[in-house]
Amino acid sequence: MARLNIVLALLAFLATGFSGAVQAAKIVEKIESDISSRNIAIESNFTGSRIVVFGTIEHSRQSESEIGLYDIAVVIRGPKRTIITRRKSKVAGIWINQDAHTFANAPGFYAVMSNRPLPDIAKQKVLDEYGLGFHSLDFKPVDSGSAELLPVDLAEFREAAVRIKQKEGLYNYDPTGVVFVGRTLFRATVDLPANVPVGIYASDVYLLRKGKVLSHNRSNLTINKQGFERFVFSAAFDYPLIYGILAVIIAVTAGLLASAMTRRD
């Protein structure tokens, strides 16, 4: 069903794209986009999800996608968090977390996709301005007060944070993730892993031509725990004492049940 909806939506965009191109050639190109699902529920069977960001270039001047007049970059950003990056050192024969740096503004999820490698699309300055690529992530070092922040050190900790997030599937860069379909349509597929953080996500789509951003479009996406998972999670954090007492009651009941079932001798 979801697939069919996407196809229908794509067809609808295709139709508007055509009518737009017929109107006038002087009008500036504009990008329109949407996400295959705007709400993602994390339930007990959640093992990750795949979303499709799709859209159309209105008033496109290219007759077919192969001409390569336009570039598109899609960025999905999760809610910002403050994270601590720690580095282990060998102390008395064992590996111990020793140095640590705190970064504010680290998105919990970050995926960037483009139709060709980002450095080919625009200069670093432009990429940084629009937050395209890992380099442009605005991690803000928080001074913990205890350690001096050496720039070299800081860069290493920052890279490590990005590397670990990539390993966890929470940060992604796909330089061929945006695919043009026909003359004006495009689509990009994003995989959200099971450990995806909850919150409001932004999907930003940038239309570029010759290294300049022509148009930008944003849609939002909500990821939430649903059903029993949501109940458990919110109970644990909103009513931690009651949650703990309930956890004990469940365990005592389970223990009583077990002993009642096994008392046949």
């Binding site: 994390i42 339930e43 007990s44 069977n45 959640f46 093992t47 968090r81 403050t82 994270i83 601590i84 990056t85 720690r86 580095r87 282990k88 050192s89 060998k90 024969g93 064992i94 590996w95 111990i96 977390n97 640590a100 705190t102 928080v142 900790f157 490590a160 944070a161 590397r163 670990i164 997030k165 390993k167 099971a194 450990n195 725990k225 998972e229 458990v232 999670f233 644990a236 954090f237 931690p240 004492l241 949650y243 703990g244 007492i245 309930l246 956890a247 004990v248 469940i250 365990a251 005592v252 389970a254 223990g255 009583l256 077990a258 002993s259 079932m261 096994t262």
Partner: protein, 309 residues
């Protein structure tokens, strides 16, 4: 296919694997008559559950297994309520301190290290002692010599302490200080390691307090129910690290496994069982030690900023 999302651990794991883990540890605890926390918590950590979540969740599971264990002992009249209560008061004090300690260690990023170090230390010491003792017992029984029975009524330094109390069920008249201290220590371990602490309490009651062997297990289980319940509630309230879904799956696996384990254990001799258990304890200890000593592939780790908000 059977993946289940664990809301507090924030990851999804295979339901059958979790049930299998609960079942395997339940089998072993049924066979050896131990709580199994010291096997389950490391197993959860090895399979990727954050150590703080593993500890708190395992405490929750132990509540269930100790309730059914204590009930069986209670029916046989093997619980010294008075002794259990004194141990329990100490346990509560230890639990409060332990949970606060875990909170501070999490903020400092050292909780994983301290959990591992505690396991290496305690499992190493207990495992080695058990192995030596059981090997001696096996040798002695092979040589045809009778296992020497302990002589009750022996006096040691404990009898010189004040605040003496009469424990009728245990036939003891001793100071309340040693059981209180043992209880506190065990409560601390329960909060930091996610164990019931029977492996410390049982030998301590037998060798230090000279509690009759018949009431030791029941009294220890009685105390464990309340201390692990306290630890569960305190960890929930302070650290939000109890995953009830994970705990429930482990409870189900554990109950089933314990039934089969108890039957399997009847065919083995006491000293052989102890030797087997000692080898497993040392195995877990070494696995934990390797994790600390061998250079990790990734020296960096990231975590959420805790505290200071």
């Amino acid at each position: 296919m059977f993946d289940i999302y664990l809301p507090i651990a924030e990851l999804s794991m295979n339901l059958l694997v979790l049930l299998g883990m609960g079942g395997a540890v339940g089998f072993l605890s049924g066979m050896f008559g131990v709580g199994g926390g010291f096997l389950m918590t490391p197993l959860l950590i090895f399979s990727g559950i954050p150590p703080a979540v593993a500890v708190a969740t395992e405490a929750n599971q132990i509540v269930a297994s100790s309730v059914s264990g204590a009930l069986a002992q209670w029916r046989r009249g093997n619980v010294d309520i008075k002794m259990g209560t004194v141990l329990l008061i100490g346990g509560m004090i230890g639990a409060v301190f332990g949970v606060q300690l875990v909170k501070l260690l999490r903020e400092a990023g050292q909780v994983d290290l301290i959990i591992s170090l505690s396991y290496v230390t305690f499992l190493g010491v207990i495992g080695s002692l058990m192995l030596i003792e059981s090997v001696r017992a096996i040798r002695r029984s092979r040589a045809g010599k009778p296992v020497p029975a302990r002589r009750p009524g022996q006096h040691n330094w404990i009898h010189g302490l004040p605040f003496k109390m009469r424990f009728k069920r245990s036939k003891l008249y001793i100071s309340a200080i040693p059981p209180l201290m043992i209880g506190t220590f065990v409560g601390l371990l329960a909060a930091i390691m996610g164990v019931g602490g029977g492996f410390i309490m049982v030998p301590a009651m037998i060798y230090l307090l000279r509690v009759p062997t018949s009431v030791v297990v029941g009294t220890s289980l009685f105390q464990i129910i309340f201390v692990t319940a306290m630890v569960t509630i305190l960890h929930s309230a302070t650290n939000q690290t109890v995953d009830v879904i994970l705990a429930l799956v482990l409870m189900i696996g554990g109950v089933i496994g314990a039934q089969f384990g108890a039957r399997a254990g009847q065919n083995l001799k006491g000293e052989q069982l102890r030797a087997l258990l000692a080898i497993m304890v040392i195995g877990v200890c070494l696995r934990m030690l390797f994790g600390l000593v061998i250079q990790p592939d990734e020296l960096f780790s990231i975590g959420p900023a805790l505290g200071g908000h």
